[in-house]
Every structure is written in structure tokens, then in C-alpha cells.
């Protein structure tokens, strides 16, 4: 958005437009740019200031000296490793179940019953409005007995919580491709439903998958209420519990958790971008 503004501004000056209208337009552009800068700056401060404060707090010791002690103490702090591993396991299971349930369902509705998409859209929003305790009771009532005394019960709850985000990512991906035509083309060429799904649809939804998985991962690594109510010490629960004992370490973990999500997001998107770039290079070489 900035480029055209600069270009227009430069063009005005290059043309040597010194008329009253020209000066007025130039002044107007400068004002717009200034406002943009102010809004961007305030937004940046809003998001970055707490992060800076957290990082500063984690890096300072009680004497006000900068040190990495809080970060280096993380692995040795009681309960961290089990909590971290539990969150990792829950994230993996949640992502697997979410993908297995949401992907075929979303594709099926898009292909076979596109008129139901509005209703489907509304249904997937329900977890956002339903209180966690109601979801927990619902899952407890319907979950298989063998899961009821295991932390994997949480994974089922997380699947419901992740549904609005995962569905929207996939829905956006499916709307971006000519799904019906691609399915018809594959079917007319002899492709079974499974082959069509695996070889035609899924490869064209890679970005949507990545987005859905990252959102699910971020949710699992940030969810506190359900885990706390279910009495399982996941990473967020551990962070809250540890905060009263070693606040510096607790904040360091929170910061790292956020940074990890960001790094993953960047890594996955850059891998995706590199894949397309490599494909283009292969074509250039032929």
C-alpha cells in the first residue's frame, strides 16, 4: 500500500507541479502517510510493548542485571519437561484428529452439498460461544470410556475448540480452487474418490493445511481453562503454577512459547514458498 503512495508523491514532485492544486494534493498525501505511520506505530507498540516487557523481565535478575539464567533454568525447573511433552503429545493427537475429521467433511460438503455451507459455517462457530465447562461435560458424556481417565480426553476437547479455526482455513483454501471442476475432471479421467482426494484436492490445499495445523498447535500450546478444569498439567497450566514460584522462568517459557509459534509459522510458510520457487526453477531449467 505504501508503494503507490510514494510513487504518486514522487510523480507529483518530479512533474514540478507547483500549482495550488498540486501543492494541496501533495499535502494531502503527506497527511495520509503521516496518519498511516501513527496508526502502524501505535499498533506496533500495543503488540510489541508487552512482549518487550516480558523479555526484559525474563532477562533481568533481582538485582536488575541482564542474564540468561531464567532461560537456562527452564529445562531444570520442576515439572517443565512432563508438561511440555504432554502439550506436544496433545498437539499431535489434536492435529491428527482435526485433520482426519474436518478435511473430508469440509471437502464433502463443498462438493456434494454446497447449499449447506451456510449452516455448516454456523455450526463450526458454536465452540466459540459455548462455555468450556459445557464442552467438557459434553465430551465427558460422549467420549469412549478408555479415554476418560487419560489426558487424551483433552485432545477431544481441543478438537472441538480448534474446529472454527481449522474449518475456516480449509474453507478459504477450498474456495480458492475450482473444486467442483477439478473433482469432475478427475472423476471423468477415472479417478476414484480416494484418488481424487489424495492426488488432486489435498496437494492443492497445502497452505490451508499448514495454516489449520499451526492454528491448532497454537491453540493447544495456549489453552489453559480446559486443561486446568480437567486437572492436567499442560504447558500453559505449568506456566501459571510456576509463576508463583519462579516468575522469571515462567515468563521466559511464555515468551519462548510465543516465539516458537512464530518461528514455526515463518518456517512453514517459507518452506511452502521455497517449494514453489524450486518448482519454478525446475521449469526454467527445462
Amino acid at each position: 500500500m505504501v508503494v503507490p503512495v510514494v510513487a504518486a508523491d514522487t510523480a507529483l514532485r518530479r512533474d514540478g507541479d507547483t500549482s495550488a492544486g498540486g501543492r494541496s494534493a501533495s499535502l494531502s498525501w503527506r497527511r495520509i502517510r503521516a496518519w498511516r505511520g501513527i496508526v502502524l506505530g501505535l499498533t506496533g507498540i500495543f503488540f510489541l510493548l508487552p512482549l518487550y516487557a516480558a523479555l526484559r523481565f525474563a532477562l533481568e535478575n533481582n538485582l536488575g542485571h541482564l542474564t540468561l539464567a531464567a532461560f537456562s533454568a527452564i529445562p531444570h525447573t520442576t515439572g517443565f519437561i512432563p508438561a511440555f511433552l504432554l502439550s506436544v503429545r496433545l498437539a499431535a493427537v489434536t492435529m491428527a484428529i482435526t485433520m482426519a475429521l474436518i478435511v473430508p467433511t469440509t471437502i464433502y460438503v463443498h462438493v456434494k452439498y454446497p447449499k449447506l455451507l451456510v449452516a455448516f459455517d454456523a455450526i463450526t462457530f458454536l465452540p466459540v460461544g459455548i462455555p468450556p465447562i459445557v464442552l467438557i461435560i459434553g465430551v465427558l458424556q460422549s467420549a469412549p470410556f478408555v479415554l476418560k481417565s487419560t489426558p487424551y480426553l483433552l485432545a477431544l476437547e481441543y478438537v472441538i475448540l480448534a474446529m472454527p479455526f481449522a474449518y475456516r482455513s480449509l474453507d478459504a483454501g477450498l474456495r480458492a480452487i475450482e473444486l467442483k471442476t477439478l473433482v469432475d475432471a478427475s472423476r471423468s479421467l477415472g479417478g476414484s474418490w480416494l484418488a481424487t482426494l489424495w492426488r488432486v484436492i489435498v496437494p492443492n490445499l497445502r497452505s490451508a493445511f499448514l495454516s489449520a495445523m499451526i492454528l491448532t498447535l497454537a491453540l493447544v500450546f495456549g489453552e489453559f481453562t480446559m486443561a486446568s478444569l480437567d486437572l492436567y498439567t499442560t504447558l500453559p497450566v505449568w506456566v501459571v503454577n510456576t509463576d508463583s514460584i519462579t516468575a522469571h522462568v515462567s515468563v521466559a517459557v511464555s515468551f519462548l512459547s510465543l516465539a516458537l509459534t512464530w518461528v514455526l509459522l515463518l518456517a512453514l510458510s517459507s518452506v511452502d514458498r521455497r517449494r514453489f520457487a524450486r518448482r519454478a526453477l525446475i521449469v526454467e531449467g527445462t
Binding site: 480452487i177 471442476t181 469432475d184 472423476r187 471423468s188 479421467l189 479417478g191 492443492n204 521449469v283
Partner: protein, 379 residues
């Protein structure tokens, strides 16, 4: 009207001259569409459509939007199920055969190439689904790409190809499986005019060479008339006429076909006991119509069936001229605010300028009476 369409096809990639029928191809199956009905709510997409296409024939389904031509194609492809009626291939009812088992190649209006595959893999996809080994399917994909002139683009992805190239790859992909019937669903609609003409000629040459029975859906009459063996004109889910292009133009079976195919003038005339009087001349009427003697009707006359001559005081005034090369089309305003188009050789039209008073005459030996606007005559 009940007509039947017999379709058969066969494909082969023997190295023969494009456009020359390849005699070594296997003769394909016949296809019959019998009394097909398909309703979408209150809309009748197909209303008793029946048709037979001859083996190796290219038949176009032509009609305005919503006439049912794409629905008919989708029923034939197995993407849609008729409410009633049958689709026979080689005399066998394929109503319950799923689309992936029908052996019908299809090219769609929107570019339907798989974005995650390059041109070669797109063409080889159908072969892969049939379990053809990698080396063989790559060889055959290369042959097909060579045939459509895109072998150099084999490793390019769809987003790196132009619209015309994408449709040629889609055509190669549809032909790679040696389909029993080739279905083309407005494949040229999204292309610019020049590419459209080139590609339709290429489709016709390949179809003639491979003797693949082809059903071509289009709303563009020029496309249909230029490449089809026969054209099936549809309206409101029913077939109005199936005929070779020249007869469709010269001997339309209904006023709708007459007006839909080619340019047609509506000229007021007076009904008489032996026909109509149009532009001062008594002309017989083709087909039947019922109106009171002496009443005014519109008759259908093509631009080339009118004569025009410049006079001092005439019944019409030339409003404009459109140059079409050897022919020039003159727009003439008649009494009653009726504008008609008259085709003259460009040499003859040179002496008639806009604003000139002219006298029109009718060359046609018979005319059709037009349906009143917004009405439909039952036949």
C-alpha cells in the same frame, strides 16, 4: 419432438495427417439419449430430450443459457442423474455406471488442469488411474502433447501456461485415455477471439483424425456451425432441430431456430389466404400458423434475402453501414420504426450512403412467420 442421437467413438494415435480419418482406429460405442427429463425445482432443464449421434460424429449442442445443453452433457458424463430417461452406450444402459467408469474424456469451460501437476503429469493422470506404468504413460503423454503442439511446455505448470495452452493440455488429457466419447463443455468460451478460432480448428482436425465421437456444448452459433457435423439446437430443455449446419441455416424447422441461427430480420407483413404480403410482394409461408386474414404478422427474412436500391423517395432510409470485407451490411429504417439489416456486396453498397432513401424488396421464395415476442408456439 423426439429425436435420437447416436454417438460412437474411437481413438488412436497412429501417425497420420491431421484432419485425415485414421482408418485403423477402433470403432467406438453408440450412445443414445432417450427421453431425458431433469428438473431443478420448478425449472425443467431437460424436458424429454432424445437424441442419437452417429459414430465418429461431432455434434454441437447449441442454445441460449439455461436451455439444458450443459445438463445434457453432464448427464452423459455421469456427473448428473436424470429424473427419468436412459443413456445407452453400445445399446447398454449406463445410467448406473459412475462417471469414472464411463470412459468419457471431458474438457471444461474453466481451465480444469490440476494446479499441482505439470502439463505432462496432467495428461498422464488418466493413464495413471488406469494403472499404466510410469514409462509408458510418460511416453503416451509426450505423444499427446506433441499432437497438440505443446511438447516444449511439458514441464510447465498450469499457471505458467496461457489460457489457450491450458485448454490444449486439457484436450490432450481428455484424449489420452482414448475415451469412448469426447465431451467439450464450452471449452473456448474463456479464450480470446484469435485463440478461439485456432483451437476450434485444431479440435476439429484432431476429431476428424481420431474419429472420436464428440459432443460439443456451446452458445456460440459460429463455433457450432463451423466445426460440427450436425448441430442440435435446444430451447427450454427440448430439442428444436438437429441438422447439418447448412440446412439449419437455410431450412430452419422453427421460427426459434431461424432467429437463433444466423442474422434474421423481423419485417411486418399482412396475412393473406395464400401467404403474406411483405414489402409489397406476395410470398408463400413455410410451416403453419394461424392468424386472421388481413392481420399484421412479423415474418423472418435473412439480410441476404433482401434487395435494396437507392431511389428519390423510398420506404426506408439507410441509417448505417458496417463493412465485413466482401460484404457490407446496411441498416435500414422502415416505416413504423422497424430497422432491418440488408447484405450487399461491398462494391454495390459503395453507392449507397447513410441518409439515402431506399426501396427494399424480398428475394426469398418463402418466409417463416415469427413467434410474437415473449410467446412460444407449440409444434
Amino acid at each position: 419432438m423426439t429425436e435420437m442421437l447416436r454417438v460412437s467413438m474411437s481413438t488412436h494415435r497412429a501417425d497420420v495427417t491431421p484432419g485425415t480419418p485414421d482408418r485403423s482406429v477402433r470403432q467406438g460405442a453408440s450412445v443414445e439419449l432417450l427421453d431425458l427429463h431433469r428438473h431443478f425445482g420448478a425449472t425443467r432443464a431437460l424436458d424429454g430430450m432424445s437424441l442419437v449421434i452417429e459414430p465418429g460424429e461431432l455434434v454441437s449442442l447449441l442454445g441460449p443459457s439455461g436451455c439444458g445443453k450443459t445438463t445434457a452433457l453432464r448427464v452423459l458424463a455421469g456427473f448428473d442423474v436424470p429424473d427419468s430417461g436412459k443413456v445407452l452406450v453400445d445399446g447398454r444402459d449406463i445410467g448406473r455406471v459412475p462417471s469414472q467408469d464411463r470412459d468419457m474424456g471431458m474438457v471444461f469451460q474453466s481451465y480444469s488442469l490440476f494446479p499441482n501437476m505439470d502439463a505432462r503429469d496432467n495428461v498422464a493422470f488418466g493413464l495413471r488411474m488406469r494403472g499404466v506404468k510410469k514409462g509408458e504413460r510418460r511416453r503416451r503423454a509426450a505423444e499427446l502433447l506433441e499432437m497438440v503442439g505443446l511438447i516444449k511446455e511439458a514441464r510447465k505448470y498450469p499457471h505458467q501456461l496461457s489460457g489457450g495452452q491450458q485448454q490444449r493440455v486439457a484436450l490432450a488429457r481428455a484424449l489420452a485415455i482414448e475415451p469412448r466419447v469426447l465431451l467439450l463443455d464450452e471449452p473456448l468460451s474463456a479464450l480470446d477471439a484469435k485463440v478461439r478460432v485456432q483451437l476450434r480448428e485444431q479440435i476439429r482436425a484432431l476429431q476428424t483424425r481420431l474419429q472420436t465421437t464428440t459432443v460439443f456444448v456451446t452458445h456460440d452459433q459460429e463455433e457450432a456451425l463451423s466445426i460440427s457435423d450436425r448441430v442440435c439446437v435446444m430451447r427450454s430443455g427440448r430439442i428444436e432441430q438437429v441438422d447439418v449446419p447448412s440446412l439449419l441455416y437455410a431450412r430452419p424447422a422453427t421460427p426459434f431456430v431461424a432467429e437463433f441461427v444466423g442474422t434474421m430480420n423481423r419485417i411486418p407483413a399482412r396475412a393473406t389466404s395464400s401467404g403474406v404480403v411483405v414489402l409489397g410482394r406476395q410470398v408463400p409461408v413455410r410451416g403453419s400458423f394461424r392468424v386472421a386474414l388481413g392481420s399484421t404478422v412479423d415474418v423472418l427474412v435473412r439480410p441476404e434475402e433482401l434487395t435494396i436500391s437507392a431511389v428519390g423517395v423510398g420506404t426506408g432510409v439507410v441509417m448505417g453501414k458496417t463493412f465485413f470485407g466482401a460484404v457490407t451490411r446496411l441498416a435500414v429504417l422502415l416505416d413504423g420504426a422497424v430497422t432491418v439489416q440488408v447484405d450487399k456486396s461491398t462494391a454495390d453498397a459503395a453507392s449507397i450512403d447513410p441518409g439515402a432513401a431506399v426501396e427494399l424488396g424480398v428475394l426469398a421464395t418463402e418466409v417463416m412467420v415469427a413467434e410474437p415476442e415473449g410467446e412460444r408456439w407449440t409444434r
